[in-house]
């Protein structure tokens, strides 16, 4: 078992963790930005699926990943705009809108897969140009360094940068301050002359851009194909991660990493004959447990602060 252990916990786990957490991370970022304006965007799942489909299609037909990226973000934007109208202008419950968009995405991408790409189930081809990988020859000499620092997909790195950027924007800029006030207390924002409606709409659009990007990463970065329902709950996991971090990009990222890490460990543990279902549960249980324990500890220390003794 000991030599097995070293096969499970070795340095390749780090790259695997980042790889496994990135799709969820992008979904979480898309959810965070609307949540800061008090909009629970569970349509991320659907937007991602649209994005993934668009990216593959555009990349296949044009051979340009840049164009694919742009188009998938545009599609995300359009879907988000529809959601924004339905929710903000026509007062549809945002959860319903999100779920309807998810259903629509599933059905429509399947339909378009048949119509446009003349296939069903999944679509792959040599003509699909993937997002570039950050490959540096000088790093590839040592296998450890190679695994740790080389061969990242472009958006695995961009994702990490975006966590920091979004954190900065939310907590250090005027825009972020106003956005948070809209989410926390819209009346206060309104009386400060901030147009709450516009602000909410704006972040819906950004969320669409991020969701489109998340989808494109799924189909061109994480893999190089499109499959029906390829998001497979990753958008929902993003929402869960957003709640894990209470809307804070950095804490949410930590949530994603915990999930990614335990998921990767699980993938390796499976090979040793434990019932697969229990292994597959690990990431979910671990995430809940860590969240619960950390909050319980926080509460306990607050209690202590309040004591009069």
């Amino acid at each position: 078992m000991l030599d097995n252990l070293s096969l499970i916990f070795d340095y390749t786990l780090i790259h695997a963790t980042i790889r496994a957490s990135t799709p969820i991370l992008f979904a979480a970022l898309a959810a965070i930005i609307t949540q800061q304006a008090d909009i629970l965007n569970i349509g991320t799942e659907g937007i991602m699926l649209f994005g993934a489909f668009t990216a593959v299609t555009v990349s296949y037909f044009t051979g340009s990943w840049i164009l694919a990226l742009i188009m998938s973000m545009v599609v995300g934007l359009i879907i988000a705009a529809i959601m924004g109208f339905a929710h903000l202008k026509y007062k549809a419950d945002i959860m319903v809108v999100g779920m309807a968009i998810n259903m629509l995405a599933l059905a429509l991408t399947r339909f378009l897969l048949n119509e446009f790409l003349n296939t069903s189930g999944s679509f792959y081809s040599d003509q699909i140009i993937a997002f570039p990988k950050l490959k540096f020859d000088f790093l590839s000499k040592n296998p450890v360094i190679n695994s740790l620092f080389n061969n990242y997909s472009l958006f695995e790195i961009v994702g990490i940068i975006m966590v920091v950027v979004l954190w900065y924007i939310l907590y250090k800029t005027v825009w972020g301050l106003r956005l948070r006030s809209v989410g926390l207390f819209p009346m206060a924002a309104e009386t400060a002359g901030i147009n709450v409606y516009k602000r909410k709409f704006e972040v819906m659009l950004y969320s669409g851009l991020l969701g489109g990007l998340a989808g494109a990463h799924l189909s061109l970065g994480y893999s190089n194909l499109f499959a029906e329902n390829m998001t497979n709950g990753r958008g929902f996991m993003g929402v869960a991660a957003m709640f894990f971090g209470g809307g804070n990009p950095i804490l949410s990222w930590i949530g994603c990493l915990i999930f990614g890490l335990t998921d990767s460990i699980g993938s390796r543990l499976q090979s040793y004959g434990l019932p697969s279902q229990f292994i597959l549960m690990i990431p979910y249980i671990a995430t809940v447990a860590i969240l619960a324990i950390s909050l319980a500890r926080k509460l306990r220390s607050e209690e202590k602060m309040k004591s009069s003794l």
Binding site: D10, A16, T119, S120, G121, S122, E228, N232, Q270
Partner: protein, 339 residues
Amino acid sequence: GCSGKTEEANTSQENGQAKESGEPIKVALVLAGFLGDKSFNDSAYEGIKKAQEDFNLEVKVMESKVPSDWESNLVAMAAADYDIVIGVSTQLQDIIKKHASEFSDVKFGIIDAVVDEPNVMSATFAQNEGSFLAGAAAAMFTQKTDIPNVNSEKIIGWVGGMDIPVLHDFLVGYKQGAKHIDPEMKILTSFAGTFNDPLKGKELTLAQYSQGADIVMNVASNTGNGILEAAKETGNYAIGVDLNQDNVYPGSILTSMLKRVDRASYLMVESIAKDSFKGGEVVNMDISNGGVGLTDMSVMKEALGDKFPQDILDKIKELTEEVKSGEIEVESYPGFEKK
């Protein structure tokens, strides 16, 4: 792999042996999943398409992964006067058993299970036998260190979709085949927990590669697309399943374990067209009748050139004979014992 527009009912040109009247034979295919899996379901549909070339058919494919839809789809098709309603999955066994007597003038087919009713034809597969060969091939291949990216470690992989009995029937054969070649062979196995998540399949496969496997067998339907992709991306190897997947990523896929579902569905339609349908008949598709087996590895041969290990192919031939003759008895998972 493109299956084109699938849902439309289309008739093809008439062929000699078709029913006298010129009216098309109405065939309904009820799936417990969707087309596009590039394996089991697509394969069943391949057979129907083949039959469409030979006979005058009107075809309806009902897809759904919602269990509560299966029964109502099947009953609706039977009630709508289809000549034959084919259930494509073990999971439809109970449903057909339940309704076959209600629709005594409709004929049913069941693939991958047996229903003993006078108006049902069944087809079963000895996937354990096919997997046995796949396991043997993988076990030999993982020691061919002159092939790029093949390491000296005696580790091979296997990734399945949902952790359900039929996959275990694949798995026992695979393990037995590998151990038959080399008892020290270590077999890493993982289940994705779903047939519908290629990304999860890819992740699991990458994990097995990082643990020393250099060839991984795919038994995961749509999830398997990720398995194959992982092979291509890392320069490692995979084994395809159900359909011939060798060409998906030429040079990355050693062989595919064929499960000739297409042949079964074709046979069922043919029996209607030729009026030879025998109720209660069970077609056992196994190595001996070519119902399961491996591909000829020609794609790999071309990719590897003279590095191609011909001895694997020879050994597979030998093993095939031994299994046929009963010299080797391949184990099966409870519930899948040969009838």
